[in-house]
């Protein structure tokens, strides 16, 4: 039984994704044991935040808890904050998604503060794209946010994305009580996952696939065959996400 902390639906205007729909995502999830997946709509990340967020909630309503929603917050459009305040209490919403590289705003910028305060007020996590080599979402940005907001539940999406960032991501999560890592990304291997778990602590790592941007079957194969103890694997695949979300997922 797997909870996928990092998913998407929708198309992305940089390359062709063969299967962008929530129908394909859920059908394929069922085939590989994913009982619940948190998605942000790629339209919301890239072009039209409010419309994409509403499409994500609409899609999640069809699937009885098999999909949750990460509401995208675009710090360059503060006028869109009211729709997030409106949607944040929907039981299908898992929290906020930040993508500081697409929005060209450093994660530690004051522009994110209203969204962080909203997340804290509603006790929901923030899943933020984390890419070790960029000025916007580098791991030092996460460190700054976690230091400023030690009570914020902050997930480092992709654990830094590139292998050269994984050990720093593990140190970061080990050093902040409420910082977690997710396993999504095209380059992570089972041995990388083992190092993340041992470096950050098994309670700090969450399974993520990045589907439908990527194919969740690849991520499931990596995580289920990684050199982990059974208890570590259970924590990563399911228990940590369930504890962190404390919201409605299909398995809770």
């Amino acid at each position: 039984m797997i909870i996928d902390i990092h998913g998407h639906i929708g198309t992305w205007p940089v390359f062709f994704i063969p299967e962008p729909s929530d129908e394909w995502l859920v059908r394929t999830n069922r085939r590989v044991g994913i009982v619940s997946c948190g998605v942000s709509h790629l339209l919301a990340i890239g072009f039209d935040t409010e419309r994409g967020n509403r499409l994500a909630v609409e899609a999640a309503r069809k699937w009885d808890g098999e999909l949750g929603v990460w509401l995208v917050a675009n710090p360059t459009r503060p006028e869109e904050l009211p729709h997030l305040e409106e949607l944040i209490d929907d039981p299908l919403v898992w929290g906020f998604k930040f993508h500081s590289d697409v929005h060209e705003t450093p994660l530690s910028s004051p522009a994110y503060e209203p969204y962080i305060e909203l997340a804290k007020e509603h006790d929901v996590p923030v899943l933020a794209h984390g890419q070790a080599d960029t000025q916007y979402s580098g791991l030092e940005r996460f460190d700054a946010v976690a230091t400023r907001h030690p009570e914020l539940k902050l997930i480092v999406g992709h654990s830094g994305l590139w292998p050269e960032g994984f050990s720093r991501a593990a140190q970061l999560a080990a050093g902040h009580e409420h910082v977690h890592l997710d396993t999504s990304g095209s380059r992570i291997t089972g041995r990388d996952l083992q190092r993340l778990v041992h470096g950050a602590g098994h309670e700090k790592v969450l399974f993520g696939s990045d589907a439908i941007f990527l194919d969740q079957r690849h991520a499931v194969g990596m995580a289920t065959h990684a050199p982990l103890q059974d208890a570590e694997r259970r924590a990563v695949l399911h228990d940590n996400a369930q504890r962190l979300l404390r919201r409605r997922t299909r398995s809770s």
Binding site: E19, G190, L214, D215, A219, G221, H225
Partner: protein, 238 residues
């Protein structure tokens, strides 16, 4: 039967992604459920080919599960006829090594590519390093050459379809075909007979692509073709 067309064995300058010996490589294959692998020694991709002389006493890789896929570097001044002859005589598939700035498909390398095509030797190219433009030029200029494109990237599926339709002698390895539903979509667009299972390990995970192929919504015949028989036909020429 699952055969990995894309594996590297040996030291890396920076440590963490490595199978130093055949035992660790075989253990990883067992974990992923991979029966056989075509393996290139890391030094043949990382060093100047002249450094191969320092390793002349290395034992051969262990068949039958591990099959050697030696590398050659087109355009390297030290690649002489004797080395080319030995590769053509000894192996059915070779891996192309490249250096930044050393264009692999030029007038000066045409004779080499033509010899490989005439001999029926297949060539595996890592598209991340070789480049899409060079791959398309290679396929266009040497239509008889059998090419296995490694690491084409999940962002390039439209380019894969275009190239597959333009040339019958190009196959595509699956390690990086990991955007949602890409394997099924490519089977529909270009046919399962053009896809070859591979992992890119240890730089990439090996269990992920194996699990994906096992759970792909394709026919068992198509799965078996991608898993093993396409590669066998490529190297055995049948």
């Amino acid at each position: 039967m699952l055969i990995d067309a894309h594996r590297i064995l040996g030291r890396q300058p920076a440590g963490q992604h490595v199978f130093d010996d055949e035992a660790s490589l075989l253990a990883d294959m067992d974990t992923a459920g991979i029966d056989e692998a075509f393996v290139t020694r890391s030094r043949q991709l990382l060093l100047d080919p002249r450094d191969e002389a320092h390793y002349h006493d290395d034992p051969p890789l262990l068949p039958p599960r591990i099959k050697e896929m030696p590398a050659f570097m087109p355009g390297h001044p030290g690649l002489d006829d004797a080395r080319i002859n030995a590769l053509i005589d000894g192996f059915a598939i070779l891996r192309c090594a490249t250096w930044p700035g050393l264009e692999p498909v030029t007038a000066s390398t045409a004779t080499l590519w033509r010899r490989l095509a005439d001999a029926g030797v297949a060539v595996a190219v890592d598209v991340e390093r070789f480049g899409w433009d060079s791959l398309e030029r290679l396929v266009d200029q040497f239509p008889g050459l059998k090419v296995l494109a490694l690491a084409t990237g999940y962002r390039n599926v439209a380019r894969i379809v275009s190239l597959a339709r333009a040339a019958e002698t190009v196959w595509f390895e699956t390690a990086t075909l990991i955007s949602a539903g890409t394997v099924e979509w490519l089977v529909d667009q270009i046919g399962a007979h053009r896809l070859v299972f591979g992992t890119g390990a240890p730089y990439r995970d090996s269990a992920g692509p194996a699990f994906l192929l096992r759970h792909a919504e394709i026919s068992d015949d198509d799965r078996a073709a991608i898993a093993a028989s396409n590669l066998r036909r490529l190297v055995e020429g049948s």
